[in-house]
Symmetry: C2
Subunit: 543 residues, 2 copies
């Protein structure tokens, strides 16, 4: 052990002489390569709309192009950057492309990027206050700033004995709050009763809830995904929650945790926080609000009403890395009772003991999260807030909403298409209706037409879904845009989620043109099957 | 909803005109600010040894300096950087300082930094293969590269039906593997038996194990931290494990999970993997190896023996962000049976459905981790491996070990000090022995001296611990170096952990000088209490 390089002369068989370790962080070389990388990335943004948005490579493409093992000797940054350009870029799906409308965006900005650079450069590990006071204190401060912008009740801020913390993801935020609620409940009903605890969401709740529930040891039989229907625009009905809870209590189970969503993934539906809390609080449940995507919008006064009722919940999270320009990862979580979190998640090994912690005058964020290590994520949030200011940030968000509205208007003008649910934020759910599309008469809609009154209805839906699935595949294969889908109430819908920093109105117009052109082709091909079946072109095929 | 900026003229009350959103990622401005930031960080590294290593601020310092709320209007990057310099830097504990010897290092390098820049710049979210094929494929490839460098058995590589994944932290790696083992076990013994499962480690195991166990719902009563003593140099004894398991089985409990450590936090002790597996495997337990710090060294042939026996375990993790130059965060985890992980952690909501996933020809890393979102961490690992090459990386690690050896030699030459445990890697555990220090006769050691044979022994230990605690405080308050402590076998020891990229031999020499100077003062003060009590200067005080 402890051998030196001279003991291993067989390895120094290259022409290059061995490097000094300190040169791996030599400031002069850092500067040279750093500038080169800034230019590389600036060029990437400059050219980003030239790449297919959705990567067109086949599975396994990269293993064919890269060597089988790590190189023995150093390679210059120039060679590496060339490989990035030739081998990595083609395999990227370009999340920062202005024509990326898939999933929800994960947008970045100059300020977010610079904040990440600072955080990486300092590379402090702020698990305890003492391990880097600035990291902890800046996080507490920006979380209070942001909480105020969202007009969260004071009970969620440090000044009101609550507090905020930055996690990596919503799933982590739910794991931590659910573990806290579980341990609180078990201390009341006895530690052996974990098998009785029940977790609730709707069938529109993000899969993070089920995963978190699985991770913290809730019996999978006790996870409730309550159906949310078109009648409530896919929001969770308090009445349904009440029924589910009653039935569980009758069965001897213990309601534990409700996750309400503001802005569901499929359709941006908004669960009614106040009425849901009224139900949940009767049973001493923990209520968490997942506003992963839509939370950002709530800094605009005109959107704030979507989180009305927030005063009744226990915890609230949103992902600044989705729609708040920080880049991955930055999930902002506030809790009313940090003590519940820390009593579940604290670990105080001797090697971390220190006077400030013992004094109880400081926050040690290690006890608010899963990991011990933590990155200095507050830096990018601070830079975003300062570089743009609240006025511009609100306008950025409004600008995305405006573009979604524009897209919605374009869809609405084409009678072959249908807007499936009312738009709440910057996402439009739509679909083409093929029986309408190929009809030469007055357009009919699936909810009003007579097919619904007989057995043919299911076939109509199935055929509509298939056409929309094909349409989406064709759009994405074009490389011009990338959108994704959802299935709600049995309907396959295409989602156009606006949220990338570089998106402009021209990209919206282009995206719509791509959708229309591919719809033309697909519907024409179906129509060509035979004039007599114009109104239901695919029925033959299905039957 | 969907209002435009013109609807809110009251907010545009500043002199600055509102920004276009796209300017937040304008390539020209990106370049300008990016270059500025590279220079800022290069300057930081250039001046880093001028700052006190451990931040000297008081709790609450930053709230006094920053405004109470986020600014309405944008601020220029120049102002922000000035604030970073004036208000953030003093509150940092400088983890990249060459005189940082605390905890374990979390070292960064130019390549790691550039990799993070690329990852942040692309900002792809590689939850599924299709969401960015390059992110998934590069990760699988570098994890195979690294697995080969560590000479992991083929069963841990993708080519052998195992595989590697990059997590954010060891705690996450343990949560995921423990959840997998839990669900495997519950499917055998029945889902209602979670309360019977038992988790094992030693009392030297990182607190991440207890936290993970708590998170996944293991009854806290069923967590075993088996005592590891100086007789095994603080490694977990297979015999003790056997006894603990037997007693649990007798009590009707079910042994589930063992975490063995290669390189414990307190003293870098190494648990004997082979013999521990022999015990654990008799009971069908999952064995995880946490080599968070020391795993990196195992790419050097002369250190590889520390993970002998790895073929018997189920999962293995180490933190490239500690001692492999990537910067935070990069925890490399390999598992033999990815199916166990994915069957616990899979969530397949409709909105993520896609053809490559359905074809089962691709890896979807979302099912290997807690969160859905994931950063492109493989990029920095790839850049580190390529920029330095294996030969240099090995030499970097050896160079740290050599410096630790140098420090160890300096300590050994000063008879007032004691090396507490044999050094395995790049960390030295030492302490001052005050009764020896002030003795004018032949030095005696606490294990050999006669005090141990009478009741005075505890007082001697307590006084020694107090002196070392004071010494460490004095060293750290100097700002010249930062070291931390551990308590093992009742002894308070000072840890000097070498691992920062910028550390050179001169910093080791300086660190030792700082230790000696402060020891001189502290021991002199104690000695001055009275000549008659030279051998036990603090006993009076304690008695």
């Amino acid at each position: 052990m402890g051998s030196l390089k001279l003991d291993h002369p067989q390895e120094n068989n290259s022409n290059s002489s061995p490097m000094e370790m300190t040169s791996a962080l030599d400031p002069v070389e850092f500067r040279r390569q750093g500038h080169m990388m800034v230019d590389f990335i600036a060029d990437y943004y400059q050219n980003i709309d030239k790449y297919p948005v959705l990567s067109q490579v086949d599975p396994g493409y990269l293993r064919k192009r890269l060597p089988e093992s790590a190189p023995d000797n150093p390679e210059p940054i120039e060679t590496i950057l060339q490989d990035v350009q030739e081998h990595i870029v083609p395999g990227l799906t370009h999340w920062q492309s202005p024509s990326f409308f898939a999933y929800f965006a994960s947008n970045v900005s100059i300020a977010g990027f610079l904040g990440e650079m600072l955080s990486t450069g300092f590379n402090v590990v702020g698990f305890s206050w003492v391990a880097s006071p600035a990291a902890t204190e800046l996080e507490s401060i920006v979380m209070d700033w942001l909480g105020n912008l969202l007009r969260l009740p004071k009970s969620f801020l440090f000044s009101g004995n609550g507090g905020g913390v930055i996690h990596g993801s919503t799933c982590e935020a739910i794991v931590c709050t659910m573990a806290a609620s579980r341990d609180q409940m078990l201390s009341r009903i006895g530690g052996d009763n974990i098998g009785k605890l029940v977790v609730y969401g709707s069938d529109q709740t993000h899969s993070a809830l089920q995963k978190a529930s699985q991770i913290v040891g809730i019996n999978p039989k006790n996870f409730r995904a309550i159906e949310a229907t078109r009648s409530t625009t896919f929001a969770l009905s308090p009445e349904s929650l009440k029924l589910a809870i009653s039935s569980d209590i009758e069965a001897g189970l213990v309601p534990l945790f409700l996750c309400a969503t503001v802005g569901t993934t499929a359709t941006t539906a908004v669960d009614p926080l106040g009425p849901l809390c009224d139900v949940a609080k009767l049973h001493g449940m923990w209520v968490h609000v997942d506003a992963a995507y839509a939370g950002s919008a709530c800094i605009c006064p005109e959107f704030r009403h979507f989180i009305d009722g927030i005063e009744g919940v226990d915890s609230f999270s949103f992902n600044a890395h989705k729609w708040f320009f920080t880049g991955l990862d930055c999930c902002c979580l506030w809790v009313k009772n940090p003590g519940a979190l820390t009593s579940s998640l604290s670990a105080n090994p001797e090697f971390l003991r220190n006077k400030p912690t013992d004094s109880k005058q400081v926050v040690d964020y290690k006890d608010w999260q899963i990991a011990l290590s933590r990155r200095f994520r507050a830096m990018k949030l601070w830079l975003v807030l300062r570089s743009y200011g609240v006025v511009n940030l609100r306008n950025f968000l409004r600008s995305h909403v405006k573009m979604a509205k524009l897209f919605e208007g374009l869809v609405a003008m084409d009678q072959r298409f249908e807007i499936v649910v009312p738009r709440n934020f910057s996402m439009v759910c739509f679909r083409v209706s093929p029986w309408v599309a190929t009809s030469k008469g007055t357009p009919t809609t699936p909810t009003s037409n007579s097919f619904h009154q007989n057995g043919i209805e299911n076939n109509v839906e199935k055929c509509t879904n298939e056409v929309n699935c094909k349409l989406l595949e064709a759009i994405n294969a074009s490389g011009h845009v990338f959108m994704t889908h959802a299935v709600v109430g049995g309907m396959y819908v295409i989602r156009c989620a606006v949220g990338v920093t570089l998106t402009e109105e021209k990209h919206i117009a282009m995206a719509w043109k791509v959708v229309q052109e591919h719809a033309d082709v697909i519907l024409k091909n179906h129509g060509d099957d035979g004039d007599a079946k114009l109104k239901l072109p695919l029925l033959d095929k299905i039957a």
